[in-house]
Symmetry: C2
Subunit: 125 residues, 2 copies
């Protein structure tokens, strides 16, 4: 497992950018990972991130059940970003959408262009 | 144009994460933008980033001619990441590949899974 770290350039805080993209191509979210998040992701096959606001490891879906199952992992040329192709259970976004990128810039403002697939109040209690 | 900034949460350095994805679905690169990079991107229709290493605005393709023409712009739920769907001229990666994510984690190591489409030495002089 340690060989994955050879090419990763963690920033001065120990983080690397992680993009989750569903296997069909839709970009779902961007978050941060530290070494532990990467280790747990590899070990379990489920995306783990590092929450900068809560300052702790975060299993995506731990509360909602909306896990992301890892299918493929890529690294960029500089080693400071990882791309995870995943199967998304339910929706990725805590606001109830499939993707966190549910707002599109149109006519000089961001407009919601997606439909909610779950009601956050019913999922996060 | 200013309305685009209402939802963007720049970090303490004044940056926001920007993902470029080609219109067919392939994730090309991740970089940073500041306010000026976003303004120039909107004004010209070509991706501009902020280079943290060179500490300056950077028109993607300024040297290589490999411009990214913006087709759609999305923002994530937290407002700290932007997703640009682009048409990529040539290749996005300064190492000569179409995408910067040309290495895949397989059998406990990252392996190059893409083919070079240009020779960097011939493009960056």
């Amino acid at each position: 497992m340690e060989k994955i770290f050879e090419l990763i350039n963690f920033d001065e805080r120990g983080f690397v950018v992680a993009i989750a993209q569903d296997v069909k191509g839709e970009v779902l979210m961007v978050a941060w990972m530290n070494k532990e998040a990467i280790e747990m992701t590899l070990k379990t096959g489920k995306m783990h991130y590092y929450s900068r606001s809560r300052k702790k490891l975060w299993l995506k879906g731990e509360e909602s059940g909306n896990f992301q199952f890892v299918k493929e992992i890529y690294i960029d040329c500089d080693g400071d970003a990882l791309l995870f192709k995943v199967e998304q259970k339910g929706g990725a976004c805590h606001e109830g959408y499939y993707t966190c990128f549910f707002r599109k810039f149109e006519g000089n403002e961001f407009k919601i262009v997606d439909k909610k697939i779950f009601e956050p109040k019913e999922v996060y209690k």
